[in-house]
Amino acid sequence: MRRSDRDAAALELALQQTLAEKNQGRVEQVQSMLKGRTRLEVSQFCSFHRQIEALKLRPWELPPCLGDLDNGSGRDDQALALLKRMEKAGVSRWHPSPIAACEAAEKAAKNRI
């Protein structure tokens, strides 16, 4: 699968997972965002949100989709490490469940050898 296809699939998965959440406030927020913003922007927001949920991140920890972001105070080493692991395993940086996706991809690669 090409990188762009992988990213598109991961972004769509994140959007669908967010729209299926029990938290109706979140669902309404995303539905409202879809009316005024591009689908790409909203999906990226959903991926950001789903990764934080899946990894149980603290407010000061960055999800891997922003792992290479340096906002002036240095990078988040853990986020960057996970992003590198995702890239190595061929997992999109926008995947909503980074660790699970990496483990599945790594297992599949091991079985191929």
Binding site: A54, L55, L57, R58, E61, Q78, L82
Partner: protein, 138 residues
């Protein structure tokens, strides 16, 4: 009533010092690896945790721990090793309780109850712990 003027030596309160309490040393009958584990446990506990007479009990705890560790390596394929592991961990638990090394000996149950409401570990905490464990194993 407060005493006026300079205090005499008798009036000065001496602060308690741990300097006179030396750490427990491993008994000579232990092997090198047992002695290392003994020293690690003593170093990880407060100075006042053990007195000289605890040395033999702590030595038995160390031996039970080493036995359980060795048996655990082969327990998957050897039923006798599994039985050894079971007996060793039972002895280890009993001795740990006697030496007050278990979590129950350190923490008030009410505190444990309060800590349950703390947020779970993040994936990054787990990654950090795994990396530290790998570094320690190397």
């Amino acid at each position: 009533m407060l005493q006026r003027g300079r205090k005499t030596a008798n009036n000065l309160t001496a602060l308690p010092s741990n300097a006179d309490r030396s750490r427990l040393v491993p008994p000579p009958h232990l092997t090198d690896s047992e002695r290392r584990l003994f020293a690690e446990i003593v170093a990880a506990c407060p100075v006042r945790q053990f007195v000289a007479t605890d040395a033999l009990l702590l030595a038995s705890f160390v031996q039970a721990t080493m036995l359980a560790r060795d048996a655990a390596r082969t327990a998957a394929g050897d039923p006798r090793a599994l039985a050894t592991w079971e007996k060793a961990t039972r002895a280890q638990t009993m001795l740990a309780r006697a030496l007050r090394l278990t979590p129950q000996a350190r923490v008030d149950p009410k505190v444990i109850g309060r800590n349950r409401s703390e947020p779970p570990l993040s994936a990054y905490d787990v990654m950090r712990m795994e990396r530290e464990a790998n570094d320690a194993a190397e």
